[in-house]
Amino acid sequence: MAEPLLEVKDLKVSFRTEDGLVRAVDGISFTVDEGEVVGIVGESGSGKSVTMMSVMRLINDPNAIYEGEILYKGRNLMGVSQDAMREVRGEEIAMIFQDPMTSLNPVYTIGWQIEEQLNEHNDLKKGQARRRAMQLLSQVGIPKPEQRIDDYPHQFSGGMRQRVMIALALSCNPDLLIADEPTTALDVTIQAQILELIQNLKSEFGSAVALITHDLGVVADIADRILVMYAGRIVEQGDKEQIFYDPQHPYTWGLLGSIARLDRPKARRLTAIAGQPPSLINRPKGCSFRPRCPQAFDRCRAEDPQLTAKVGEGHLDACHLSVEDKRARRDATINPRLADTA
């Protein structure tokens, strides 16, 4: 069994604020293997972005407190020097962000920005960087790269800018690509293009991908395994088949039910998850999803559920319900009242 590429062990990230200690990430552990695509799914505030930003140590907040380990190729990145971390960033682990409109520096051409990254991590002769940049632009599907390489970011549309970001991220052949909600700000048609691009390039470059999103539909094609996060913790994790066909946690059911599906008859109402995500300060006892969970019972208030494998190997969830109970209630949530088809 090969060593995982990335292994996060009991990571906790908290922020000191005026109102108290915000536990953005409250003890999560997971792995990403070489070449694997892991989808990290959750609402805003679930801690998914903070987790991956911590992997890159990109959080610049003096009020941040870290605990736990982040092992990359066996090396704990939490203890590594800033200089060493800089060598990892861009070259071994690269990241693309949510809003392509603001993620590129507006005063430099995109060619310059790609070449900057190439030159930082490689010893290239004059002209080599530019050629490589053009090659990358055509690999990500930008038409007429010889002209576009000297254009500025504002001369590109949102979808094109995201492609440039992908080119930038893959320029030094990283082993892990972190994509933080890469398609959230894009139209659904462009989203389809970008996801297809990521999937193709992943094979071409051989990178593992950690894809962060709030939409389970986005990862249905591309992911191998999925982590569902809520309030700073993982509430369910498993491979794609397990999560989509045998989801164990009521939050996952809620997420699945929220999506308007084209492959099923129209239901009367979308199953929305009532209420708001909880405050990350002063977490109360018991299950943090309880206030919004239609399946909650006494034990949920008293006891914090542990993330354990109850139904199959590699399929973990944090819910007190028994497996039989879950399966019985699940259908009612995800495929509500099919009899009420409008």
Partner: protein, 322 residues
């Protein structure tokens, strides 16, 4: 881009024209004012008034008078000051190098120090140096330049003049660069430092605020994610974009100073620049000089404003397509 430049230059001429007309109307078309009397200065004789009336064609229609005024100012350049009875244009031209020397020197000093202070404060944010530097900056902004100048003079010219610190300080005045460079430098050093204190304070604060704001931008996060060194991120990314605002503000302040805005400094240090000239003409109501200095100042400000716009477009590609 070329269209942009042409448009800005054309607008510049339109603005200058408008200002000259406005100045003209203020002096010559305000009801109840006898322009000839005004122009004749204090205690004029009847002949002076008559000759002025004739020379400026005050019996002629307004546009003609305006035309004549412009002719005297720009073409024949023989506008005469009624205070000193010398020609105005040469007077201004000889005052210009003084002002330019003062302002350029002060600008160099203030740019260097404000960048150092601003960047220093932003980088050292969270430590004691940040508020310390900003308080220094605040003091710099708050000290009136004439007070500071007088104190400097007090110290360097009289109180501590004999000590080794300041014995080299020459008497107040100006020596042209071409005549004696060392003297030129020695006489301008303290005026430079005094004038720049105010601006260092202001620009350091502006730059620091800009840097902190830019720090939180997404593209800075991307730059770090690329694995660039902190120094590169600071200078090539954060500072580069923050400089856009800095440069625009600088251009306008610089223009105002060149146009005679440094008059307090010039008065305090006895430098015969355009500012001092304006000051003197105002106190003696020397109309031809006032008018010319106003037009001169307006010219520099509009020119600088146009140049700043161009510079802005060069620094920020997003503006270019407009």
């Amino acid at each position: 881009m070329a269209a942009f430049i042409i448009r800005r230059l054309l607008w510049m001429f339109v603005v200058l024209f408008a200002i000259s007309v406005l100045v003209f109307l203020i002096f010559f078309a305000t009801p109840g004012v006898d322009p000839a009397r005004q122009m004749a200065g204090r205690n004029p004789s009847a002949e002076t008034i008559k000759s002025i009336k004739h020379e400026f064609g005050l019996d002629r229609p307004l546009p003609v008078r305006y035309g004549l005024m412009m002719k005297h100012m720009f073409i024949s350049r023989d506008l005469i000051s009624y205070g000193s009875h010398t020609r105005v244009i040469p007077e201004i031209l000889s005052a210009t190098p003084v002002t330019l020397s003062l302002v350029f020197g002060a600008a160099v000093i203030w740019i260097v120090f404000s960048i150092l202070t601003g960047v220093g404060a932003a980088v050292l944010r969270g430590t004691i140096f940040d508020p310390f530097l900003m308080i220094l900056a605040l003091i710099g902004i708050s000290i009136p330049v004439f007070w500071l100048g007088e104190v400097v003079n007090l110290v360097t010219q009289s109180r501590l003049h004999d000590s080794f610190l300041f014995s080299w300080v020459p008497p107040l005045g100006y020596t042209p660069l071409t005549q004696d460079p060392f003297m030129w430098f020695k006489q301008l050093l303290f005026p430079w430092l005094t004038l720049s204190v105010l601006y260092i304070g202001f620009y350091a604060r502006v730059l620091r605020a800009n840097l902190i704001e830019t720090e939180s931008e997404d593209y800075i996060r991307t730059a770090r994610a690329k694995g660039l060194s902190e120094r590169r991120v600071l200078f090539r990314h954060t500072l580069r974009t923050s400089m856009i605002t800095f440069v625009s503000l600088f251009g306008l302040d610089f223009a105002v100073l060149v146009g005679g805005g440094a008059l307090l400094t010039e008065v305090v240090f006895g430098l015969p620049g355009v500012g001092l000239l304006t000051y003197n003409s105002l106190t003696s109501l020397d109309l031809p000089v006032i008018m010319t200095t106003v037009v001169y100042a307006a010219f520099f400000i509009t020119l600088a404003s146009a140049l700043v716009d161009l510079l802005y477009a060069w620094l920020d590609p997003r503006v270019r397509l407009a």
